[in-house]
Amino acid sequence: MGRAIRLVLVLAAKDLRVEFRTRTSLLSAAVFAALVLIVFNFARDPTAVATIDLAPSVLWVTVAFASVVAMNRAFTTERENAAFDGLLLAPVSREVLYLGKYLASLVFVLLVEAITLPLFVLFFNVSLGHALPGLVATMLLATAGFVAVGTVFSAMVVKTRFAELMLPVLLLPFMVPPLIYAVRTSAPLFQGRPLSEVLAGLRFLALYDVAFITLSVLLFSAVVDE
């Protein structure tokens, strides 16, 4: 067990180190998020709909798009370096390989979200205050779910010809339930409602996470073992 955890961390650390040496990926995802927020700002009529009502949707759609951009990176490095065989050769179980990739992608996407949230607060002039813990919890739970599925799909599409296009096509249906619940959970929080009122939403997100992380761990071998 200890060995498994250590290997997961070694794998994730390698991915993150490779990712940050590239420098462009985090930057492009962050710039992308900023651009989406700017578009939203110009696309709405501030007199027609109150910002606070629109806020959760804007935040989560931005997060969704930026996450897909970020997740595309998960296996592209392996393909570009033709290095994935090295991981498959090693005496490492496929479950551990998956968890390593998952952890790295999760950290990466959460970083993108951590950049998006302050930008969102800045551009839309919303005060978060008491909503912040609940919002962070929602972000963590929602992200954990769709990154789990995204990691499996990234491994699949990296071998196809239109990888960058295929990932969103396959992944977006899986992102919708967590996004719906993330919006539904954030909206009362933005309105100043207490965390206790949105526990049902958080429970749903947690259920989704358990279901899909489990499935992903079990199915990863079917994707990567030829």
Binding site: V10, T77, A82
Partner: protein, 236 residues
């Protein structure tokens, strides 16, 4: 009780769509064996090597290394295997030392960074330890890949056309290295286009044609006579 052979493969069968790459291949190797695998293009040599490495699951048949079956459920069965393929298995964004330290960790090597340094030194790459793969010449890149493949001191070493693209000097160096690696406790499988490339260290020779062994036997003495045999087999 007899010890299990180092490598035991039975009835390996594998297709790619309609192409039947392997049609029931058997192979047994004892420690100290060095098998040369030859055959025309498309004969299934790379497929065979990848299956022996555990990278491909055969549709029928089994592979066992040191008595343990290669299957998804037993990662430790892969521990004794080392592979040198066309891909360097190195990450461009990491230095050679970082690459090898990472690989050493995957194999639970004690003192991974130390072993990585030693492995690079053994290939004469100590000065380049901080360089990225992109900065190396082709020959040096292969030496780095060899260093990576040998990190965990594999008992079964698989090499896929290692002499391709090497000039005469690099080829000689590789031949010398293979001779040194030829230990009583280790078995090697070398896929090659020219029998002459590694003839001297080989103990067995196999010719794969159309996914099957046309010949698999102890290495004969005369390489020239073998060339004629090979040409006939490859034609048929």
């Amino acid at each position: 009780m007899a010890e299990p052979p180092l490598l035991e493969a039975r009835g390996l069968t594998r297709s790619y769509g309609a192409v039947r790459a392997l049609r029931g291949v058997d192979l047994t190797l004892a420690p100290g064996d060095v098998l040369l695998v030859l055959g025309p293009n498309g004969a299934g040599k790379s497929t065979l090597l990848r299956t022996l490495a555990g990278l491909l699951r055969p549709q029928a048949g089994t592979v066992a290394v040191l008595g343990r079956m290669l299957s998804g459920d037993d990662p430790d069965a892969r521990r004794p295997i080392g592979l040198l393929s066309h891909q360097s298995l190195l990450y461009d964004e990491l230095s050679l030392l970082e690459n090898l330290t990472f690989a050493a960790r995957l194999y639970d090597v004690p003192e991974p960074a130390e072993r990585a340094r030693e492995a690079l030194a053994a290939q004469g790459l100590s000065e380049r330890a901080g360089d990225r793969p992109r900065q190396l010449s082709r020959g040096m890149l292969q030496r780095a890949a060899i260093a990576r493949a040998l990190l965990h001191r594999p008992a079964l070493l698989l090499l896929d056309e290692p002499f391709t693209g090497l000039d005469a000097v690099a080829g000689d160096r590789l031949r010398a290295l293979l001779a040194k690696l030829h230990e009583p406790s280790r078995a090697m499988v070398v896929v090659t286009h020219h029998a002459g490339e590694a003839w001297d260290i080989a103990t067995r020779v196999g010719v794969l044609v159309g996914g099957r062994w046309a010949l698999e036997a102890p290495r004969p003495e005369d390489v020239r006579a073998f060339h004629l045999t090979y040409q006939e087999l490859a034609r048929g």
